[in-house]
């Protein structure tokens, strides 16, 4: 118990430090966390209205885009932050008793908390502007978000070790995951595309995370393309692989 409290203390100290260094010295540093996903939604809206189509699903286009962009960002940011936790902080990891896992926990929690703040602001704004109705099943959305976070953490753990042992992995991971933004059903409805294409896209765990998150917001949204067990299997497998890699590579990580 005492050891656990000590680790929490370490991660807490690192979290505060990360919060200060990541936002940079600029005053709007923290605002970027809100501006970035909103700019994505704005671009999609502009493109959508420009080609003047009907909303992919339901009456609110904005809500559809937001419930697509945000779970994707949760996964993407956590995986990115955790992935760079070891490589990007060699010096502080040399401080006695700061372990790579402390840094990983600090960065994951910071990315997760930032996301919670962003989504809370957006939901309150949308409710106030009466663009959306209250989510029909907030608990579903919360559960989906938790699993999306865990997927980001699992993938990030694998990246953290891989990136610090093999510097090319940064680029390979970038190339591999670039298409995820397109293939995760963020700006189109995966229910409305040909079924053989659906089959191939259904291999992407982030797609299921997005689909699951959306079911929390709309009562009339039911989809054939949602395999909850598949997403959970990915979460467990990536966490297991990531933690094992971290442990196996431990002597080579912080002290090189």
């Amino acid at each position: 118990m005492e050891a656990l409290a000590r680790r929490a203390q370490m991660s807490g100290a690192l979290l505060l430090r990360e919060a200060k260094t990541q936002s940079g010295r600029s005053r709007i540093g923290y605002l970027w966390a809100l501006i970035e996903p909103l700019s994505h939604v704005a671009v999609m809206c502009v493109v959508y209205w420009a080609i003047n189509r009907r909303a992919p699903v339901g009456p609110s286009v904005v809500l559809f885009f937001i419930t697509g962009v945000l779970p994707f960002f949760l996964f993407h940011k956590v995986a990115l932050q955790v992935g760079g936790a070891v490589r990007g902080s060699q010096k502080v990891l040399r401080m006695p008793f700061v372990s790579p896992l402390d840094m990983i926990v600090a960065r994951a929690v910071l990315a997760g908390l930032t996301w919670v703040v962003v989504i809370s602001i957006l939901v309150v704004l949308l409710l106030a502007m009466e663009v959306m109705e209250p989510p029909v099943s907030p608990e579903t959305a919360v559960l989906a978000a938790l699993l999306t976070f865990a997927l980001g953490l699992g993938v990030g753990l694998v990246n953290a070790t891989a990136m610090s042992l093999w510097s090319s992995w940064v680029h390979i991971y970038g190339v591999l995951t670039r298409p995820l933004y397109i293939f995760s059903g963020i700006f189109f409805s995966v229910d409305r595309i040909p079924s053989n294409l659906q089959y191939w896209l259904s291999w992407n765990p982030v797609l299921h995370a997005v689909q699951w998150f959306r079911t929390g917001f709309r009562s009339d949204y039911s989809t054939p393309v949602l395999d909850r067990t598949y997403l959970i299997s990915w979460v467990l497998a990536s966490l297991l692989l990531g933690l094992s890699m971290l442990r196996a590579a431990r002597p080579r990580l912080a002290y090189t």
């Binding site: 203390q9 940079g24 401080m95």
Partner: protein, 221 residues
């Protein structure tokens, strides 16, 4: 007490391989002042970093049953874009010390005025040394590690540091690495020599200092 069991450490590969510790075993009493003498490149600093937990040995174990400081003046935990205040708070939290109390101590000790709240990257070397040194003795450790005492900035500040260190020394042990026998003799009751990956012990500090001087004389000739 700090115990080294069969500690081995080497850097580089092949013909560049440089052995710092070769199956080294030793026990450091937590309350004593121990000096480690060694020529340039003998691995004193690496040994000190391993004792402090900043570096892992290739093989063997280091067992610490007390709170060991980071080497005095070590700046690895400092982030250049954060101010001295923010950095000091971070390190205090890391060690479970009271951030308010530690910040006050460092601010008063370092005497760098309003620079204390500016980013570290705007500091001169002297200012940085003042902050990192003040940080090192702000927290109460059981054993303090010192790598080459002469590395502490300007003369006036150095005198102040030595006084503060002597004060801490009353309740804490000391492990000091140096190239200079005179420095080590001023502070330490026990002196050992690090040479070819082994520690050599002596009956008295004077005897060790003499042996060290002779060794240097031999290698120089």
């Amino acid at each position: 007490m700090i115990e080294l069991r069969n500690v081995s450490k080497a850097y580089g590969h092949g013909s560049n391989r440089h052995v710092v510790c070769d199956a080294l075993s030793a026990v450091f009493d937590g309350s004593a002042a121990v000096g480690i003498l060694g020529a340039n490149g003998s691995g004193k600093s690496s040994l000190l970093r391993m004792i402090g937990g900043m570096e892992l040995p290739d093989r063997g174990q280091i067992i610490r049953s007390c709170r060991v400081s980071f080497p005095l003046g070590y700046s690895g935990g400092f982030h250049p874009t954060l101010s001295a205040r923010e950095n000091v708070q971070f390190i205090a939290r890391l060690y479970g010390a009271d951030p308010v109390e530690i910040t006050r101590f460092v601010r008063d000790f370092a005497e760098i005025g309003s620079h204390f709240d500016r980013p570290l990257l705007t500091y001169s070397n002297t200012m940085r040394a003042r902050v990192t040194f003040a940080m090192s003795i702000a927290i109460e450790f059981d054993v303090y590690l010192i790598d080459e005492v002469s590395s502490v900035g300007d003369v006036g500040f150095k005198r102040k540091c030595l006084a503060a260190l002597a004060e801490r020394r009353r309740h804490a042990g000391l492990i000091m690495a140096s190239q200079s026998a005179a420095n080590v003799r001023r502070f330490c009751d026990t002196v050992v020599i690090l040479d070819c990956g082994q520690l050599h012990a002596f009956h008295s500090a004077d005897e060790a200092a003499d042996a060290y001087q002779n060794r240097i004389a031999v290698t120089d000739a």
